[in-house]
Amino acid sequence: MSPRSVGLVARREFLENARTKAFWIGALSVPVLLVVSAAAGGFFASIRSVDTYAVLDQSGWVHDATRRHIIAEDLTEALDVIARRSVSSPADASNEREALLAEVRTAIDSDEDREAFQTRAAELIFTLATESGRIPSPSLAVEKFADWWVSDVDAVADAFGDTSLADYRELVPSRLDAAHLNALIAEDRLDGYFVIPEDPVRSGEGARYVTENLTDQDMSRWYGRGLTEVVQAQRLREENIDAETAEWLNETISFEAAKPLGAGAETADDADFLAQWAPIGLVYLLWISIFTINQMLLTSTVDEKSGKLAEVLLSSVSPADLMAGKVAGIGGAGLAIIAVWIATFVAFALAGLGLMARAGGDFDIGPLLNPAFLIGFVVYFLLGYLLYAAIFCAIGSLCNTIQDAQSLMMPMILVLMIPFLLVFPVARDPNGTLAVVASWIPPLTPFVMLNRMADPPGVLTFAGTSVLLAASVWYSLRIGGRVFENGILRTGKPPSLKQLPSLLRG
């Protein structure tokens, strides 16, 4: 084999691919998709419509209690967000809102302070909301906060996107009767209204949600959940069951995920879950990479054969050089695409982390950048690509059209589907019988071994499966090279299975 000839063929293949629209579309698809997703997410969030509701409360008290419940939940969410902010002096804040939030952050520094703040804020907000009033000259942080909450609801919803204010707003109309509310719905000023029966504690019969849009039940479910909690609490009270007892009665048992550590165990955090899932993402990436790049290789080989180029090339280079150059050049082009994808993903992840950190979030991307994963990915990509490349090249050399190639490809596609289907079974039980057996089947080895890296098997398994895979790659290149050599100048229809042995003999 001549390294110079291989290099020249590889250079041409790489450049020819790099100059195609398909290459740039492929390379930029992921970055564009990420940018579009981010932009679309922001856009849809910005244009998200807020549903309005009214309540016809025949009980006279349940809706007020539900309002308090909703305010309390929203306040918990908002104060969680504020508590995650890094403390900064209100004097350093860039605007009035930032200054207020900084002041609140200081005011809820301890658990006791936060509880007192939340109780007082809830009371103030409830009062101001039900009376549509304002605090004339708020001086305390809690007063300013409550006043801002009821006077600038859009800003509150914008600052605390997970509160109910971001999705639902109560409309308090001048007249609270069904006819008027129906008219408001007809005029598109109201999305729906709830009818609370006279005694929902005794029976929920008669509770209704009136709306034109019967397919969207989100608001009904949200308000119903709050109301149910209020009613259930009242029922418990009437049965003389205090809140603590009720909570204890309703408490469910859930197991906390943990990892073994020495004699004990360590609670699993987000990073541990990410480490568990990262190999699955890498297996999908490996599968897409191998499949996509080998398709490029197949198309290029068929093009060369059908374009009558093979013969003139073979008068200059050997079949082995030609095939090796194609595999290297197209593999390089494919790797360039994958590298752009990975770089984009890492850049987005880091940018996302930066944004989260500024918002007070805390997340560890370390597991994704685990060197073992990256080295494993590169090694298994190279071995897996070469294993399939030889076969795809051989198939391409026998076919004059992509249609011919597709029929010969069918068995290979079926083989490639197996690791795709094994991803979740192997992830659930990385050292189970299925995973262990599949690891030793060379066409599956790259995918299954990468899949098992969340709970890696022993070094001997890695070494053994890698040696077997490398041997299979060598054998595959040898057989594929033989078929390529004898097939590339062949004319007419692709050979039948019976004719394949004669192609191997030459």
């Binding site: 000839s5 020249l8 063929v9 041409r12 020819e16 100059r19 195609t20 374009g307 009558k308 180029l309 013969e311 003139v312 090339l313 073979l314 008068s315 200059s316 280079v317 050997s318 004898n486 100048l489 062949r490 004319t491 007419g492 229809k493 004669s502 030459g506």
Partner: protein, 314 residues
């Protein structure tokens, strides 16, 4: 041909089969150095298989090969140039880039290959298409680019398989001039064709192949001889040439006929007889055409020209 003449390439008892098809069988020929040598024969005769073996693309089942002094042509690919019958270009490559790349494949440095490509494309009136993509070329232009890619590294032995197919008369002349220029520089050219008239015009020596064997070889003069054929041009579409004295085979093309003469034939007597049958416009004693030589040789051996089959690599 005498052994005193240096040979650029030769094969002895060459055989090659594809499955049940015997493409070449005990074929021997020698290509004199510095000549244009024709390998002539119908489709499927074994020409392409023979030259693929000479170019080191295919291996022979049996026989010996010598190309520019080497028994294995794969070792000297950089000294050989090959334009196959089935021609193709990388459609998305630029013309200049493609020709230079083939020069690099033949061992030239990138700079030398680029310079040589520029010079050769200028000779073929294609300099202005240097940056054009190959898929923008007409068929004739594409073929000239392929010939340029074959010659860019100035090979010592060039094999051109049907180089004139698809070319207009002006480009045919241009390619013919290029072949003559190669010969003038001492290079050896093997021209493979099934069109006998082309070979007759340009080749110094030829081998006629049928069914994988050489049926005749020698210089053009040795093969066509002199004065044993009458060419008759006449009015009308076909005529009765039966029973003419001293005339053997007749190759009647409609208004031109070639009449093979026996040793004791009298052209005057034949002319007198012909004048009673048709209006003769031309009556000429000529050498035998290659076509006629080929047909006679095949008939003498009791063969028919074979037709290429599907599925074989030949």
């Amino acid at each position: 041909m005498g052994n005193a003449i240096a040979t650029a390439a030769s094969v002895q008892d060459l055989s090659r089969s594809f499955g049940d098809v015997q493409a070449v069988e005990e074929l021997s020929l020698a290509v004199p150095q510095g000549t244009i040598f024709g390998i002539i024969g119908p489709n499927g005769a074994g020409k392409t298989t023979t030259i693929r073996i000479l170019m080191g693309i295919l291996a022979a089942d049996a026989g010996t090969i010598n190309v520019l002094g080497e028994s294995d042509p794969r070792r000297i690919k950089s000294r050989l140039g090959y334009l196959p019958e089935e021609k193709g270009l990388y459609k998305k490559m630029q013309v200049g880039e493609l020709v230079a790349w083939f020069g690099e494949l033949k061992g030239m440095s990138r700079r030398d290959a680029t310079d040589a490509a520029r010079k050769l494309l200028a000779e073929f009136d294609l300099e202005s298409r240097w940056r054009d993509k190959c898929d923008s070329l007409s068929k004739g232009m594409g073929q000239k680019v392929q010939i340029a890619a074959t010659l860019v590294h100035d090979p010592e032995l060039v094999v051109l398989d049907e180089p004139f197919s698809g070319l207009d008369p002006i480009n045919v002349e241009m390619v013919r001039d290029a072949m003559l220029a190669l010969k003038a520089r001492g290079r050896t050219v093997i021209l493979c064709t099934h069109i006998m008239e082309q070979a007759e015009q340009i080749c110094d020596a030829l081998a006629l192949i049928n069914r994988g064997r050489v049926v005749l070889d020698g210089t053009l003069a040795e093969l066509t001889g002199s004065g044993d054929t009458l060419t008759v041009e006449y009015d009308g579409a076909g005529a009765d040439f039966g029973g003419l004295p001293g005339v053997g085979r007749v190759n009647d093309a409609g208004n031109v006929a070639e009449l093979s003469l026996s040793a004791d034939a009298d052209p005057q007597a034949i002319l007198q007889e012909l004048l009673q049958r048709v209006t003769v416009r031309r009556f000429d004693t000529t050498t035998t055409s290659l076509h006629e030589v080929f047909v006679r040789a095949v008939r003498e051996k009791g063969d028919d020209p074979m037709v290429e089959g599907e599925g074989e690599a030949a």
